[in-house]
Symmetry: C2
Subunit: 229 residues, 2 copies
C-alpha cells in the first residue's frame, strides 16, 4: 500500500545542501504496524512527510494506494491526504482558535461524508478513548503538552483512515497514558486493517511493532521483522 | 534555594475552574538534581512555570534565592529570570527569525555582562556540546524536532544560571543523544553547583536524579530520595 523507490530528499540552504534521505526504498503492505527508529536528525520526520504527501521527494518515487504522488497535482494530493491518511505531527499542528472537539471534528467535517449525528458520535468516542472527555471545550493553549498530543492523535484517527503516520506520538506521554494510546492503535490495526507507521525513540512502541526499520543519516540500515506482542 | 509553600494554581475557563496545583509545598537546596514525574496533566509544567516566574500562583508562596516572587514587580521578575534561571520549555519557544547561534546567544546578549569575544566562545562551546556545531546557521524551521530541543537546551545552559528548569528535555531525543545531554547537565551540576529541576516521563532521567518527586492531580504524592548513579 506504501512503496518508496530510491527516494532522495535534499534541503538547500544557501550554498549548503542537507541530504535528509539518501536513497530510501521501502514496501509496506496493508495492515502493517511498523516503527521507524533512529537518532535525532536521521530523517524520520522527512520520511513520514514524504509518505504523507506533506512534502515532495527530490528524486525517486513514492506510491500510495497505487498512485504515484509525484504525478498528482495539489488538489489530488489534498484529496489523498484527506480521505486516506491520518497524520500525528511531531509538533501537533493543532488549530489554536478551535477547541478540542472542533480540532478533532475538522477532518471528517471536511470529508463531508457523514451526517452531523454521525460526526458527533465519532468525535465524542475518540476523545473519550484518548482520555480527554473532560477537556472538550479547552483550546490548545489551555492544555498540557501530553493533552495536546492526544488531541492530535484523536484527530488523526477519527475518520478511520487507511494509513496513519504517527511522528513520535508518545514523546509527551507517561507510561500508562502512552500504553492506552498504543492499545487504541493496535485495536484499529486489528479491526480496520489500518496501516500504522510510527517514527519513534520509545522502546514501548518499538516492542509492539511488527517490524522496526532503522534509519541512520538518511539511509535504512536495518529492516527487521519481529513478532508482535 | 527554591521554596514553595502551599501553592495553589487554578485556571478559570468560563464557569469551570481547573485546579492544576492543589497545595504544593517543596524545598530544594542549591546543587540539587531532581526529577518531577507524573501522568500527563498532573501539573508538572504548571509547577515549573511558577518556579520559573513565567506564571503566578493563585495562592501560596514561591521563594527563589531568598526573594518571594509574588512581591516582585514585572521588571524584577524579568531580571530574576534573565540572571538566575535557565528554562527549557516543553514546546521549546525558539525565536523563529533567529538562527541556532543567535537563539543560543540571546540570553547572554541581554545580560550584557560579557564581551563579544566571551559570548562567541560560550555560544560555540555549548552548541558543540549538544552536537549541533554543523547547524549554526539553520533556523528553527530547518531543524528536526530533536535538534530544536537541543537548541532550547543550549540556550538554557549557555549563561550557566543558578537554577535550570527543564520541562521534558529528552522527549524528542534518541537514547544516545539523550544520555549526552544528561551527562552535560550532570557536569554543570558538579562543577557549578547548578540546581536542576526536571519534569520528565523518561526513566533514564529519573534514574539519574538524586530525588524523584511524584505529582498526581496537582499534589505531591511521593518525595523520595534515591542515590544518584
Ligand atoms: N492555560 C491553561 N488554561 C487552562 N487549563 C490549563 C492551562 N494550562 C494547563 N491547564 C490544565 O492544568 C492541568 C495541568 O497542566 P500541566 O501542563 O501542568 O500538566 P503536565 O503535568 O505538564 O502534563 P504533560 O505531561 O501532559 O505535559 C491540566 O489538566 C491542563 O489541562
Ligand atoms: N526544512 C528543512 N530545511 C533544512 N534542513 C532540514 C529541514 N528539515 C529537516 N532538515 C534536516 O534534515 C535532517 C533530517 O531531519 P528530520 O526532521 O527528518 O530528522 P528526524 O529523524 O525526524 O529527527 P528527530 O528525531 O530529531 O525528530 C536533519 O539534519 C535536519 O536538520
Ligand atoms: Mg522528527
Ligand atoms: Mg507538561
Amino acid at each position: 500500500i506504501v512503496q518508496l523507490n530510491n527516494v532522495v530528499k535534499e534541503y538547500a540552504l544557501g550554498k549548503t545542501v542537507v541530504r535528509a534521505l539518501r536513497g530510501v526504498s521501502l514496501t509496506l503492505a496493508r495492515g502493517e504496524f511498523i516503527a521507524v527508529a533512529g537518532p535525532s536528525g536521521s530523517g524520520k520526520t522527512t520520511l513520514l512527510n514524504l509518505i504523507g504527501c506533506v512534502d515532495k521527494a527530490t528524486s525517486g518515487t513514492v506510491t500510495l494506494d497505487g498512485a504515484e504522488t509525484n504525478t498528482l497535482d495539489d488538489h489530488a494530493l489534498t484529496e489523498l491526504r484527506l480521505h486516506k491518511l491520518g497524520f500525528v505531527f511531531q509538533s501537533f499542528n493543532l488549530i489554536q482558535v478551535l477547541n478540542v472537539y472542533q480540532n478533532v471534528e475538522f477532518p471528517i467535517l471536511l470529508q463531508g461524508t457523514s451526517t452531523g449525528g454521525e460526526r458527533h458520535r465519532m468525535v465524542e468516542e475518540i476523545i473519550d478513548r484518548v482520555g480527554l472527555k473532560e477537556y472538550l471545550r479547552h483550546r490548545p493553549n489551555e492544555l498540557s503538552g501530553g493533552q495536546r498530543q492526544r488531541v492530535a492523535i484523536a484527530r488523526a484517527l477519527v475518520g478511520k483512515p487507511m494509513v496513519v503516520l504517527a511522528d513520535e506520538p508518545t514523546g509527551n506521554l507517561d507510561s500508562k497514558t502512552g500504553q492506552s494510546i498504543i492499545d487504541l492503535m493496535k485495536q484499529m490495526n486489528r479491526e480496520e486493517q489500518t496501516t500504522f507507521i510510527f517514527s519513534t525513540h520509545d522502546p514501548r512502541v518499538m516492542e509492539q511493532a511488527q517490524r522496526v526499520i532503522e534509519l541512520v543519516d538518511g539511509q535504512i540500515t536495518a529492516n527487521g521483522a519481529q513478532p508482535a506482542k
